[in-house]
Symmetry: C2
């Protein structure tokens, strides 16, 4: 072909400017979108060059993903944090997200910690509690360092009741606190008398009813219930209406057969039935149980946790163990309740992104078109959102199928390489907390994990893997 | 244009043979599918010519459809048939579908009637009961003639417990029996001791618990619960898993607060929680309540009931009151359970097509892709099925929205004119009964209402409407 006499056929890759010029000159050009891997981060780009298609990484990922798929979370019942959570010292408080010191914590997390101190009786009032929190006499560590997860502030103190979820084969346990419902609640930083009274009721009235119920019911497998909820309009992160109903339907007949006294049982049933989000904390504990099974596979780039402390967004990855890769937590550009705007919002907060990490929540959006329609999207957008996550995941979870996508499995097992390489950030459905303690939820929306976390993760992983 | 020298542009309507010939000769032809109205039924075609776009019919339909939309079914609680159903004499048994004499009834309906006679204590054994049924000493009438509906055989005898659903504005009441669950059940014609024992338990143990529950709960609006179930994968005909869970979630806290004794309450909760179809009978009673509001509008071609007795399929239409238009009930070409085939099936049976008449079931298929995937279809087929029903309905029901169709309302208010005119028959999701009494359910599938019913209906309606 002679370029000057024949019409050239042009493919343009990357910057559209070149293509535009050819087009203006009357040429025919096909443009292909492309951007450099890892958004041009040189170290991450070099790491990707080592990691992509690396046989050891591929094998490690197959192994980690298989372990995640095989994990069977079973709800054993409830307990008191100090009795069941490993490393839960007498003066320790767990919180959401990666590690953070008291002074740097966001408003809702500080407010929740003040509430926990009051609940424990370690201080007489909120000022006293703040002084104690800042004194260094209380240890603050991430829930994730103790096998636990908590939504929003994610605060768990020694006397709080927690769910116990066991992985059936390994016996490993994961934990989550109880969901308090909406309104003035600890997880959004509220710490007034009604919040403390509710925590006390959960520990002293609800937990014994659950103990009696599980003594009667025996352990409850969670995956079938979660799978059913995905067929009923939940993505089991921001929408748990079906899962909560199904849970209640399993618990109540056993509760009635149990030794629980009728008055406490009546309160328990009303509380659970009145809270569409009651299942969320179980969805989170089950998600962590599945992902913990995939931890610590050398060389694996599978993400095992995504979590936010309201200041930083952190991820953990199988091949790099318990290390965190963090970036500033984004502020969620979602739908705000009347009277609130993005300026009122705390940055992204909570361990609940463990559900997305497990292929649920935003990754299962196709199951819950109500979530996208809430922020103005359509059913097709919900399906597209789920479909796009297949580009950054290791496979599909056949245990969690999506009716609207002809019962294909949810995309699951986030591959940090693929995120860094494509620049497609994991989608997360989330509630939005007011930046001040105790105001509560002011909106909900869809956000993305920061790409910088994944660039750091692949860079760190490459250092552990020999060149192929 | 000179046809012989210029290339003609051909539109072919109806028989494709003409188009094929032009195509073979090298011509360009566009074919339009068309068939004569009312499948060529001359009387019905003439009736349609009178009725289509007739101002009085249009106005009548607007009025009937508005009444259907405005109806508010409220669950009052339960009662005993003889105490609450109007015209329920001491020796009367109600059955599904249009009127039919004992001798012509299908196996499952005869079996269910034998069971009802044994339950009532009118006979000592099944042979005795059959003799009594054939003697003429018992009146058999359609449920629909008494404001009632029942799935499959639809048998209701005086001592059976029934649901009471009231239309909030008019106070008019509709009724349905209780759902027995699957296996050996009266509605499929089983009448052994365990069937009779379950009926007795429902009357003597379950009903008093429900009485106590509703005394505590007060009346329960059904449309919001049904709407929520449509957002949770149910079409509330063949799939009632979400609706049953939501109902239980509403009933149990009130049940616990009520005066019901704990042992009976425990049995009731276990029974309801163990039966995914428990809500079906309420979905049917609520559907009838909405459709009864649209009855008896002179000139209206809106269908107010579709029902099958296992021999005939019958419809009722607003403008023709309580008259039935019947045709042989089709045998459902569905998915049969292992060991069974279409030769084993009873023809289409039950009042449950009242749900389709109300814009639910097959008309809301887009809500429940699991239903079509059960018979090999896809999520897109489910949406297409719902969309096609819009061609034969008067409008959409904004109270019942479909997530997969961006929350548009279900097509509702079947217009007998449109069915007869287009030949698009209403789609019905249904269970399939064995043709012999007592074998039970042998499959499920999707069927169509016979077009002949609609041809008769429009012919009858035309006789009541003056030429425009």
């Amino acid at each position: 072909m002679t370029p000057l006499t024949e019409t050239p056929q042009v493919l343009n890759v990357g910057l559209p400017g070149f293509a535009d010029a050819i087009g203006r000159a009357g040429g025919t050009v096909r443009h292909i979108e492309w951007s450099p891997p890892a958004s041009g981060d040189l170290a991450a780009g070099r790491a990707l060059a080592r990691l992509v298609n690396h046989p050891a990484v591929e094998a490690a990922n197959r192994s980690a993903f298989a372990a995640y798929l095989a994990a069977t979370p079973v709800l054993e019942g409830a307990g008191i944090a100090r009795d069941v959570i490993p490393g839960m010292d007498a003066r320790r408080i767990l919180h959401a997200g990666p590690p953070i010191a008291w002074a740097r914590m966001c408003g809702p997390m500080q407010g929740a910690i003040v509430g926990a101190i009051l609940f424990e009786g370690w201080a007489d009032d909120a000022d006293d509690a703040r002084r104690l929190a800042g004194s260094g006499d209380i240890a603050f560590t991430p829930c994730h360092h103790h096998g636990a997860v908590g939504p929003m502030a994610g605060v768990i103190s020694p006397s709080m009741p927690v769910w116990i979820v066991r992985e059936a084969a390994s016996g490993r346990r994961c934990f989550s606190n109880f969901n308090e419902g909406l309104g003035k609640v600890l997880r959004f930083g509220a710490n007034g008398p009604e919040v403390i009274a509710r925590l006390r009721w959960m520990a002293e009235r609800l937990r014994p009813v659950l103990d009696a119920t599980f003594a009667e019911l025996g352990p409850l497998e969670l995956k079938p219930l979660m799978a059913q909820a995905l067929h009923m309009g939940d993505e089991i992160h921001n929408r748990n209406a079906a899962a909560t109903s199904l849970l209640l339907r399993r618990l109540l007949p056993a509760m009635l057969r149990s030794s629980a006294p009728r008055d406490a049982m009546t309160e328990a049933a009303a509380f659970i039935a009145g809270n569409d989000h009651f299942f969320l904390n179980l969805s989170m504990a089950a998600s962590k149980t599945m992902l913990d099974a995939a931890r610590n596979v050398p060389g694996s780039s599978m993400v095992t946790a995504m979590a936010r402390n309201g200041v930083e967004f952190g991820i953990q990855m199988s091949g790099t163990g318990d290390g965190w890769f963090t970036a500033p937590a984004p502020v969620v550009n979602g739908l705000y309740f009347p009277g609130y705007a993005i300026a009122d919002a705390a940055p992204d907060l909570g361990d609940s992104a463990i559900t997305e990490t497990a292929g649920l929540g935003g990754f299962a959006m196709a199951a819950a078109p109500a979530i996208v329609s809430f922020v103005g999207g359509t059913a097709a957008d919900a399906i597209a959102s789920t479909a796009s996550m297949a580009a950054i995941t290791l496979g599909r979870n056949g245990a969690f199928t999506l009716p609207a996508m002809d019962f294909s499995g949810t995309p699951a097992g986030i591959d940090a390489r693929k995120v860094a390489d494509t620049g497609i950030a994991p989608v997360i459905n989330t509630g939005i907390a007011h930046r001040e303690a105790g105001v509560g939820q002011i909106g909900a929306g869809i956000t993305r994990a920061p790409l910088a976390c994944f660039a750091q993760a692949v860079t760190a992983l490459a250092a552990t893997v020999a060149e192929d």
